[in-house]
Amino acid sequence: MPPARFPIPQGTLDMLILQTLSLEPAHGYAIAQRLQQVSRETVQVNQGSLYPALHRLEQKGWLKASWRQSETGREAKFYSLTRAGQKQLAVEKATWNRLTTAVQLIFNEGE
């Protein structure tokens, strides 16, 4: 199956990245793997599109990056959450919850 462009909106991808990194620092490949595992393969990530998002978040000051030795012994660029990033994640989670609750309410009404 040819991989489609990542279907979920940018903001959501950002949120997922932040969430993933809130557990522990990781490099790009690991993040991609984790996203796929956690979403139980329902979300097909076009892996390359992860990187513009990572760099954007880094520029915003929500992530910071450094080259470190990885589990395989090779050097990899590890991303971790900054304090601003943690705050941002909290804000986005709250927003997301409000949004989904609202959408759910509307759906329920229709039933």
Partner: protein, 902 residues
């Protein structure tokens, strides 16, 4: 802001490498995983690439986040700043206007500095040009100012091709130019044949003067017109080449037109035409001496050979120069001088100075004042900047809550900083734009104070625009820095409890006010010095009665009267003018008072022994009744009579009048009347001229200095070529302005075609001479006043803020029994500390800056106690008055109201 750094090439390279490494690492890991699951290496690579998507496209998208995000943020910052600024229109207007004035004034002065001082000549490799000068005593008579050389020496310098790629000489003068029906008195440059080719200037029309025009005196009647004159007087006629013209009534032919940008070697004296040196006799009919080695009148310039430095050329030419000196002493006609003078002559050296901008000596008059003003406007801009910074800080304090909230919501410290900086920059750019609108107006005012002929313009060009932009950006950054710093501090305390950061902000604002006080005081001291200088110069006794004294030049020889007739016109004119009602006295002289230069001659004096004047002495030729007309009394002897002025052509001078200093210097206490002198310093110089009078000292050349204080006066000849033009002086009884019409009518009776050139009162001439002093006094007063207002507004702002913040405290104190005087003192003390601190900075600073202004002052030291005291007193008075308003408000706080605020 940091994002912007990503545009820097080295930073950019690192980011690229990093990204490449990161993406490859990802692919490698995927390939490794896939092969482990059993795929062939080739298959795994294909699969990994497929999953990854376009490698190049990903790279491109990542790159965009580095740069575009920054631009995007910046755009958002600007929009945010604009919104904030729109919400406080009064603040914005005040900030923009004060910055506009500062930046506008700065750009105006920069445009003049740029046009006069920074520009190089529009010639080939101006950086290779040097000016040549005789350093030492040349035992010569001089015509002109600055470094002067004789024409023969100029020719010999042209042979020094070991160091030079050519040597040029020039002499500025005024000539009467007639083309068809057009008659003008215009500036001209008398030049060596090498002039245009060495400079590398190409003709706009026809050809330029070249070495073939430099062969035989009187044999090269050709002129080159300036582009401006061609356009102005001839409307750019294309048949200009070959036209016949009259230069001082001598027929010559136009051979070409110079290119538009080339205006001669003196940026402040643009000629309308160029005349070959060989035509000197026609160009300056009063004197020739083209081949006289002891007549210096030309400015010499050389083009250094590639690879040769000025120092090498100076050193390398010394042996030749020394042998030239030695040969000169043996020549026929070398002056008979004392052993001392002989020694100092032989010790002369040839000096070389880089001259990429052409003649520098005349620029000196403009350079220093402009640099002083530039310094003044920079201080003013800083003051305005500090004011805006203070205002932004005040608003910043009010916005602490906003900033803290934004940071709590996740805005990074850098974002907030960059936002505040942007606000400052936006204000400053608005100020700069408005400033550029007023710049041409300010420049136009400044031009009134600068010499004419400089062809300076008030327009804006790319360089002025760039300068204003740079100043605006710097100003903006400075404005924004203080609030940004404050925001950082606010962030450190990291809570909406803003007490700490407010206290920090107050301290910062107080520091700003102290700096403002210091700047304002420096500018006020400067204004005081320049105003007093001007007052002293105007108050100076120049030795003649300048009120009701008119003068104008007439040059009958230049409009076609042959020499004998021209002298007759002059005589008739003076006689006719003496009969005009309201004219008390009329006399003629060779030159106008206070116009700078004068011819100089060395004299031989027959006293107890025969002595030669140490330097050449400035001379003036004056007609009978001259001293009575200008109101300078004789202290001994008599004025010239008509008899003294007769037959000078054939019999030479018989009478001379000397000034008091000359008498004192060469005759000690004894009266020189009846003693004999001769013109020249050669052993056989006849001494047959009798001193007939001693006149009180007066300044006939300059207002400012009395260097070379010895002057002598010869009779203005009745006949001959020297009698064909001169300046006529009139002492009138009524207002000089009303006499002018009668004078013009009388002159028209004598010759209706004769123009009265530069008709003005001597008082007006003094105004012209003191132009740069007036400019400094006027502008520095303006700067001082503006600085005072800005500083006081700053102080008032801080004090108001302090009173508001301490309302409760003061109320409490009042409730507990403090008097209103105590309350006033509480606030006034704060203000006084700032004022005194400002002074403590300003006074030593003024001392350090004194070198900058020393040369511009007259009769007052650059570090003058009374002036400083006066300026400081004024500042303290105004500042305290401004501080009193909030202090008064503090005193009238009602304790009950204040406490109720709690």
């Amino acid at each position: 802001m940091a994002r912007f750094l990503n545009l820097l090439p080295w930073r950019r390279r690192r980011l690229e490498q990093d990204l490449d490494r990161e993406l490859r690492d990802h692919l490698d890991r995927r390939v490794a995983d896939l092969t482990r699951s059993g795929m062939s290496d080739h298959e795994a690579r294909r699969q990994a690439a497929l999953e990854f998507g376009g490698f190049v496209q990903v790279q491109e998208e990542v790159r965009e986040t580095w740069v575009w995000r920054w631009l995007d943020q910046w755009r958002r910052d600007v929009r945010y700043a604009a919104r904030t600024l729109r919400r406080g229109p009064a603040f914005t207007a005040a900030a923009v206007v004060s910055l506009a004035l500062g930046i506008g004034a700065n750009a105006a002065i920069f445009s003049l500095v740029d046009q006069t001082l920074l520009r190089t000549l529009p010639v080939t490799r101006p950086d290779r040009l040097v000016q040549l000068g005789w350093h030492g005593n040349s035992l010569s008579s001089a015509w002109g100012t600055g470094w002067l050389l004789s024409y023969p020496l100029c020719r010999e310098l042209q042979e020094q091709d070991r160091f030079f790629d050519g040597v040029i000489c020039r002499h500025p003068t005024a000539v009467y130019l007639s083309i068809g029906q057009q008659h003008d008195q215009v500036r001209a440059e008398i030049v060596s044949g090498s002039y245009f080719s060495v400079l590398g200037v190409r003709p706009e029309q026809g050809r330029l003067i070249d070495p073939s025009d430099d062969r035989q005196p009187g044999a090269h009647p050709v002129v080159v017109l300036s582009y401006t004159y061609w356009q102005r007087a001839l409307a750019g006629a294309h048949d200009v080449v070959g036209r016949a013209v009259l230069v001082n009534n001598a027929p010559m032919t136009v051979i070409g037109v110079a290119p538009p940008r080339f205006t001669g070697l003196d940026p402040l004296d643009a000629p309308s035409l160029w005349i070959p040196a060989m035509m000197k006799k026609q160009a300056t009919p009063e004197w020739d001496r083209l081949f006289d080695r002891r007549a210096v009148w030309m400015h010499g310039f050389a083009r250094l050979k590639p690879g040769v430095t000025a120092a090498q050329a100076r050193e390398g030419l010394q042996p030749w120069f020394a042998s030239m000196l030695d040969a000169d002493t043996g020549r026929e006609g070398f002056p008979k001088v004392t052993a001392d003078q002989h020694r100092s002559f032989l010790a002369s050296t040839l000096d070389l100075e880089p001259a990429p901008g052409g003649l520098d000596t005349l620029q000196a008059a403009v350079k220093q004042p402009l640099l002083v003003l530039m310094g003044g406007t920079l201080l003013l801009v800083l003051l305005a900047t500090l004011n805006v910074a203070g205002l932004l800080l005040a608003r910043g304090a009010a916005r602490v809550r906003e900033v803290t909230t934004r940071m709590a919501l996740g805005a990074s410290r850098g974002r907030v900083t960059s936002q505040l900086l942007t606000e400052g920059v936006v204000v400053a750019l608005m100020g700069g734009a408005l400033g550029l609108l007023v710049t041409p107006l300010i420049t136009r005012v400044l031009l009134l104070f600068l010499p004419e002929g400089a062809e300076l313009t008030a327009g804006l060009d790319a360089r002025v625009f760039l300068f204003a932009t740079v100043i605006s950006l710097a100003t903006g950054a400075l404005c924004g820095l203080a609030p940004a710093w404050q925001a950082r501090r606010g962030a450190l305390t990291s809570s909406a409890r803003s007490q700490v950061s407010v206290r920090g902000a107050v301290r910062l604002r107080k520091a700003i006010v102290v700096t403002q006080m210091a700047f304002a005081l420096v500018l006020l001291i400067g204004a005081g010095l320049f105003v007093q200088t001007l007052a002293r110069l105007y108050g100076r006794d120049l030795g003649f009665a300048s009120d009701r004294l008119l003068m104008f030049r007439v040059e009958p020889d230049a409009i076609g009267h042959p020499p004998g007739e021209a002298a007759e016109v002059m005589r008739t004119l003076v006689r006719r003018l003496q009969a005009v009602p309201g004219v008390e006295g009329a006399a003629v002289a060779n030159s106008s008072l206070l116009t700078g230069g004068s011819p100089r001659r060395t004299l031989t004096i027959q006293a107890e022994t025969r002595v030669v004047t140490e330097r050449s002495v400035p001379i003036m030729r004056v007609g009978p009744g001259f001293f009575a007309a200008i109101g300078t009394p004789l202290v001994a002897g008599r004025e010239f009579t008509a008899d003294d002025a007769r037959d000078i052509e054939t019999r030479g001078y018989r009478a001379v009048i000397v000034n008091e200093r000359f008498a004192r210097r060469y005759f000690g206490g004894t009266s020189p009347v009846g003693r004999l002198v001769g013109v020249g310093n050669q052993p056989n110089t006849p001494t047959t001229i009798e001193i007939v009078g001693v006149v009180r000292d007066f300044n006939f050349r300059f207002v400012r200095d009395d260097m070379e204080p010895e002057h002598v006066f010869f009779p203005f000849a009745e006949t001959g070529p020297l009698a064909g033009n001169g300046t006529i002086y009139l002492k009138v009884t009524g207002a000089p302005e009303s006499a002018a019409a009668a004078i013009q009518a009388a002159a028209a009776e004598v010759d209706p075609r004769l123009p009265l050139l530069s008709l003005r009162t001597v008082g007006e001439q003094i105004d012209r001479v003191l132009r740069s002093e007036r400019m400094l006094a006027t502008l520095s007063s303006g700067f001082g006043a503006a600085a005072l207002v800005l500083a006081v507004v700053g102080l008032y702002g801080v004090m108001s803020f302090v009173v508001t913040r301490r309302t409760q405290e003061i109320g409490l104190r009042l409730a507990l029994g403090a008097t209103r005087a105590n309350a006033i003192w509480l606030i006034a003390r704060d203000a006084m500390v700032m004022i005194v601190l400002g002074m403590a900075i300003a006074i030593p600073a003024a001392g350090a800056l004194r070198r900058l202004v020393e040369a511009q002052l007259f009769g007052i030291p650059a570090f003058d106690g009374p002036t400083i005291a006066l300026a400081a007193g004024l500042l303290a008075l105004v500042a305290l008055a401004a501080a009193m308003l909030p202090a008064w408000r503090a005193a009238s706080i009602s304790p009950t109201d204040a406490l109720r605020l709690e």
